[in-house]
């Protein structure tokens, strides 16, 4: 069931470097023991996976520019024993730790806050750690995020997304900070409530990946960046003049007008941010703003 390409391992074995003789014997012994442990472990894993009828069948996208056999993208199959509460990320980790250590994906927090494991699972963008296997139909097809270049297996290049996020001056700016270092700026509860959802973005890029417009126009700022700008434009602490500036940035050629209200961004956002609503509000603000000068 392990899916490591056997051919490749053989090749590497034969090309392995020669080790000094003295070391060889000791290493051989160590290796033997280690190999035994490894074997037992894999056997145990398979056993476990088979014995339980409750296993999940995963089909995982594989690609590695450097490894023969993986240069042509392909799908690998894994059978993972199911445990109550198991998520897609848990299943991937299990498959990696028990079958194929080269299975690669980003992950860190396991609690939907670091935003590193947005994946394309059974046809939609989801966080692996926030998706229960039991909610999915089998086989569970796991692919890297669409529209992004694949670096390896499930890892995509995020640079472009970061560039877009950083293109909207994603930082607080105001001309009227209070004097004292202990004086707070005041903000009404309503206003904080208004920007609250927009501040929840975890930069996972699921929204960007789901948007057909972003797919067609690589320069499009994308829903997450617009939402980021919304977060500041709507924050009353920044003041009117800053808002003007922010609207100008958003109105750029590949800015907010590109959005065609497809709603898929809103649907996939793991933090439930009403992206389309924010985008539309920005459009109306921009129109109002422009009308002022007519």
């Amino acid at each position: 069931m392990s899916t490591q390409v056997p051919k490749q391992t053989e090749e590497e074995e034969s090309s392995a470097e020669v080790v000094p003789a003295g070391q060889q014997k000791r290493e051989a012994k160590k290796r033997e023991r280690a190999a035994r442990i490894q074997e037992e472990r894999e056997a145990e894993a398979e056993e476990k996976a088979r014995s339980k009828d409750d296993t999940y069948h995963l089909k995982v996208f594989r690609y590695d520019p450097e490894v023969e056999g993986k240069q042509e993208p392909r799908f690998d199959e894994f059978y993972v024993p199911y445990k109550q509460g198991m998520t897609v990320l848990d299943a991937l980790m299990w498959a990696r730790d028990h079958y194929d250590s080269s299975l690669t994906f980003r992950h860190s927090c396991r609690q939907a806050i670091c935003g590193s494991d947005a994946l394309f699972v059974n046809g939609s963008q989801r966080l692996g750690c926030k998706t229960q296997l039991s909610d999915l139909s089998e086989p569970v097809r796991i692919e890297p995020l669409p529209h992004a270049e694949v670096v390896k297996d499930l890892v995509v290049d995020m640079e472009h997304f970061y560039d877009q996020m950083e293109a909207v001056e994603p930082f607080f700016q105001t001309n009227s900070l209070p004097e004292g270092e202990l004086d707070e700026q005041r903000q009404s509860r309503e206003n904080r409530e208004k920007v609250k959802m927009s501040t929840r973005c975890i930069w996972c890029s699921a929204c960007m990946s789901s948007c057909n417009i972003a797919a067609g126009d690589n320069e499009y700022l994308g829903p997450a960046a617009i939402n980021k700008a919304y977060r500041f434009a709507m924050d009353e602490r920044e003041g009117e003049d800053m808002k003007q500036r922010r609207l100008e940035i958003l109105e750029q050629e590949h800015g907010v007008w590109r959005c065609q209200t497809q709603f898929s961004c809103t649907e996939v956002c793991p933090k439930d941010i009403p992206l389309t609503e924010h985008i539309q509000e920005i459009k109306r603000e921009a129109i109002k703003n422009n009308l002022k000068f007519w």
Partner: protein, 615 residues
């Protein structure tokens, strides 16, 4: 090779704050981080930031609470610095636009938190850490500070004088995750470690997968002493499959804990006859563990936290986010079934020994955040005291490294003054297995300090040896994989060095760690690719886990008392006469060396007299 004035390792709250401070002091600063900054685990913090902001509150009260909370193992100068600077730093975040929750009058909201005498925990909903992390990253973008993200730092480049106190740090060596190249980063003024927690030493933790304590282990191996490692905080209600935290709010609202038999064990077995479920974190954690150990746990693993009797309306009103957490991460709808919970590793009070400027005994090497131990948390961290630590000490370290004069520190670092060498009886040998013959080179010691040329050369050599080490790991084709080694250590730590500590179990853990170390000699990396090789990175991390697991266990074995989060079966009380001191470990030629240094209880205006810690 890249060169900057100040190099910050890690981009969580502590690293970001340090970088901003150094930048504001005019230094050319760069961050090197294995994760993109916004992926750092600071984002997971929920509760808030303690800061004495209101007229009715004072930093002195905050300091008193913190000292008491630390069970008198905090150093007063550090604690007082934290409490004095926290208000200013918290308002700085507000000025940077952080979306704090607000009061009717528009001021930032504060709420009460365990162990605090005033509601001074400043928060932003249930996502304070997320807001803090993103606000600071935004400031980084604004200033255009260079970030090398997805660069895994593997080693420090430190000169090789005999005594660690004479050494100095030249820079770091890092591995570019995307391309697989190894590069040196030279720091003209200083290296600041801000690599966060070490939760992955345990198999069940609220920490991220990336929290493998790399900074602590690197500094340790480079000669900087590590302090109070045995003090690990456990949280009583975490979801079994992921370690996601279920807040105390559930018990606060009236949630009940049951064992397999359906007994309300907090009362039935007399763990806390008055407070019941509302007893303090460590009491509840130990009660749960006892239930499981005595065979009354569900699936021999967890207990149930039930809130169904509160009624759907009340739950939806006050604990709605809990429903989502439980459904998303555990697949259990808490309106229909009780939630499974068990204790999980949460926070490491110990870390790299530093003074109140964040500097270690190795000059130009700093540590801040969870990886450091200044020490402000002593035996036990109060909720809401870690985030202020990040911003207060992050800033100070950044400024100091950039050359600002912060005055003479009151805390001393390294083996100076009143220290006391010690021994502890261990069942197995400690330290590196098979020193000198292994592929994994030692802690980056390199030529002596002094001239720039010497520094360049030291960098070159360190990079070379790191390249060789990685090449040899990749060339090996057989052996064990890191997952096996890691799992062994993690399991043993959870079984033996958890909320309960008894001598025989601690010794068992040391034996297991030893075995794992020997096994690690044979480690190989299955994935041969240079591109995004997480297999290789985890293999490197596993080594850090081994060193830290051992350090925690040795400290726990040595400390024969019950203080803060550290509970010893045969020593059920705090023993100030003997143990009012910090546990220190130094890496000495591949072996841990145990010593102690006194706690500083003398504050600016008063001395904190140890009192019984009861609430």
């Amino acid at each position: 090779m890249y060169t900057h004035d100040v190099i910050v390792v890690g981009a969580g709250g502590a690293g970001l704050r340090a970088a901003i401070a150094a930048h504001e002091e005019g230094a050319d600063v760069a961050i090197v981080s294995k994760l993109h900054p916004v992926r750092s685990h600071t984002g997971a913090a929920e509760g808030g930031i303690n800061a004495a902001l209101r007229e009715a509150d004072s930093w002195e009260d905050h300091a008193y609470d913190t000292m008491k909370g630390s069970d008198y193992l905090g150093d007063a100068p550090a604690v007082e610095t934290l409490c004095k600077d926290s208000p200013k730093e918290t308002i700085q975040l507000e000025h940077w636009g952080m979306a704090f929750s607000r009061e009717e009058d528009g001021r930032v909201s504060q709420r009460p938190f365990g162990g605090l005498s005033f509601p001074r925990t400043t928060y932003a909903g249930a996502e304070t850490g997320h807001q803090l992390l993103h606000t600071m990253y935004e400031q980084l973008v604004k200033r255009g500070i260079k970030v090398y993200d997805e660069w895994h730092v593997t080693n420090l480049v430190v000169s090789d004088e005999e005594r660690p106190e004479d050494r100095s740090c030249h820079g770091i060596v890092a591995y570019d995750v995307q391309s697989g190249t190894v590069e040196g980063f030279q720091a003209r003024n200083g290296v600041i470690l801000a690599t966060g927690g070490l939760g992955q030493v345990y198999d069940h933790t609220t920490n991220a997968v990336a929290n493998t304590g790399d900074g602590v282990a690197m500094a340790y191996r480079a000669g900087a002493p590590i302090e109070d490692m045995e003090f690990i905080q456990f949280h009583p209600t975490t979801l079994p499959s992921t370690g996601v935290l279920i807040s105390e709010g559930v018990r606060g609202e009236g949630g009940i804990l049951y064992n397999k038999e359906g007994e309300r064990f907090m009362f039935e077995y007399g763990y806390a006859n008055n407070a019941g479920e509302l007893a303090s974190r460590d009491v509840v954690s130990r009660a749960e563990q006892t239930e499981v150990d005595d065979g009354r746990g569900i699936e021999d693993e967890y207990v149930h936290l039930d809130m169904r009797h509160l009624g759907e309306e009340r739950i939806l009103d006050r604990l709605e986010n809990i429903i989502h957490l439980s459904e998303d991460f555990e697949g259990v709808n808490p309106l229909e079934a009780p939630m499974p919970v068990k204790p999980g590793q949460h926070y490491a009070m110990g870390g790299v020994e530093t003074d109140e400027h964040g500097e270690t005994c190795i000059s130009d090497l700093y540590a801040v955040g969870e990886c450091a131990c200044a020490s402000v948390h002593g035996g036990n961290r109060l909720g809401g005291n870690a985030l202020p630590e990040l911003i207060v000490f992050g800033r100070r370290a950044g400024e100091h490294a950039a050359g600002k004069d912060l005055g003479e520190p009151k805390i001393t670092t390294g083996k100076v003054g009143d220290f006391e060498l010690a021994e502890v009886e261990t069942p197995v040998e400690l330290g590196e297995a098979g020193i000198g013959e292994d592929v994994v080179a030692d802690g980056g010691a390199a030529a002596d300090s002094g001239t720039a040329a010497a520094s360049d050369e030291a960098m070159q050599r360190a990079v070379e040896s790191e390249r060789e080490m990685i090449d040899s790991l990749l060339e090996k084709n057989e052996g064990v994989q890191h997952a096996e080694v890691r799992e062994r250590v993690q399991k043993s730590m959870t079984r033996n060095v958890n909320v309960f500590r008894e001598e025989s179990r601690l010794k068992q853990a040391l034996k297991d760690i030893r075995e794992a170390r020997v096994l690690y000699q044979d480690v190989y990396v299955g994935d041969k690719s240079r591109t995004f090789n997480t297999d290789l990175l985890q293999t490197l991390e596993t080594r850090n886990i081994l060193d830290l697991a051992e350090a925690i266990t040795v400290g726990a074995l040595a400390r024969e008392e019950f203080r803060g989060a550290h509970w010893r079966k045969n020593y059920q009380e705090r023993r100030d006469e003997e143990w009012l001191k910090h546990t220190m470990l130094s890496w000495n030629d591949g072996k841990p060396e145990l010593w102690y240094k006194p706690v500083i209880l003398e504050g600016e205006n008063k001395t904190y007299e140890p009192k019984i810690r009861s609430y």
